[in-house]
């Protein structure tokens, strides 16, 4: 793919389930290719279902390569845990982190593809949010 002048937006997927976060990252990598940094963070510190602000914060730190990070969360307290994680980050990094409450799988795949073509952090966030309106052709 083409050379990018600025670093690509990176993605962090936060789920209550480690398997779900890893599955989202696997699918997003397949669609977006290897250039976008994608990190999955799932489960509580003891491996049970839950979320862990410390691991979310370190995932955001390792994901960022200067282009910012979009975090996509599954449900409820994943948002709260991510908000607490962002509060522990350095101001510069925290300023280039965005949080999406859009649909987990659709948002992960669509936003990762938009990140892979060098779109800005806010455009990638917009794509993740717009994924709410994805029409799969059934059930409407």
């Amino acid at each position: 793919m083409s050379e990018h002048d600025t670093p690509l937006v990176a993605m962090v997927f936060v789920s209550h389930s480690a398997k779900l976060a890893e599955g989202a990252a696997e699918l997003a990598t397949q669609m977006a290719g290897p250039e976008v940094r994608l990190i999955a963070v799932g489960g509580a510190p003891d491996g049970s279902l839950g979320t862990d602000p410390d691991r979310i914060a370190s995932a955001i730190r390792s994901a960022d390569s200067g282009g910012g990070v979009l975090v996509i969360c599954d449900l409820g307290s994943a948002i709260l845990a991510t908000e607490s994680a962002i509060e522990t980050l350095d101001g510069d990094l925290a300023a280039r982190v965005r949080l999406s409450g859009g649909p987990f799988v659709e948002g992960a795949v669509i936003a990762s593809v938009q990140a892979s073509i060098g779109q800005s952090l806010d455009d990638v966030l917009h794509a993740a949010e717009e994924a709410r309106d994805l029409d799969k052709g059934v059930g409407r």
Binding site: M1, A32, G33, I110, S116, I117, G118, Q119
Partner: protein, 82 residues
């Protein structure tokens, strides 16, 4: 892969599903392209506008003809049409 190929070009790229009809999509937006509902055997029209418009069409056509990263079904040859 279609969106990533389009995204690597400088031109504006629009795509339409000729088989199903409907509005044009921005070829650099996955959500927009998914909304076209293109499936195997459909005919699509691609329009590029910009300083690399010819190269854009050539590379998108090559990407489609090579199966967009998926194995081609020999029973369904890609039909080239202008």
């Amino acid at each position: 892969m279609f969106v990533r190929t389009a995204g690597a070009q400088r031109s504006k790229v629009r795509v339409r599903n000729l088989t199903r009809g409907g509005a044009e999509a921005d070829a650099k937006s996955l959500l927009s392209v998914l909304g076209l509902g293109v499936s195997c055997g459909h005919r699509i029209a691609i329009q590029a506008e910009g300083d690399d418009e010819e190269a854009t069409i050539v590379s998108l056509r090559a990407a489609i003809e090579s199966g967009l990263g998926e194995p081609l079904d020999p029973a369904r040859p890609v039909e080239a049409a202008e």
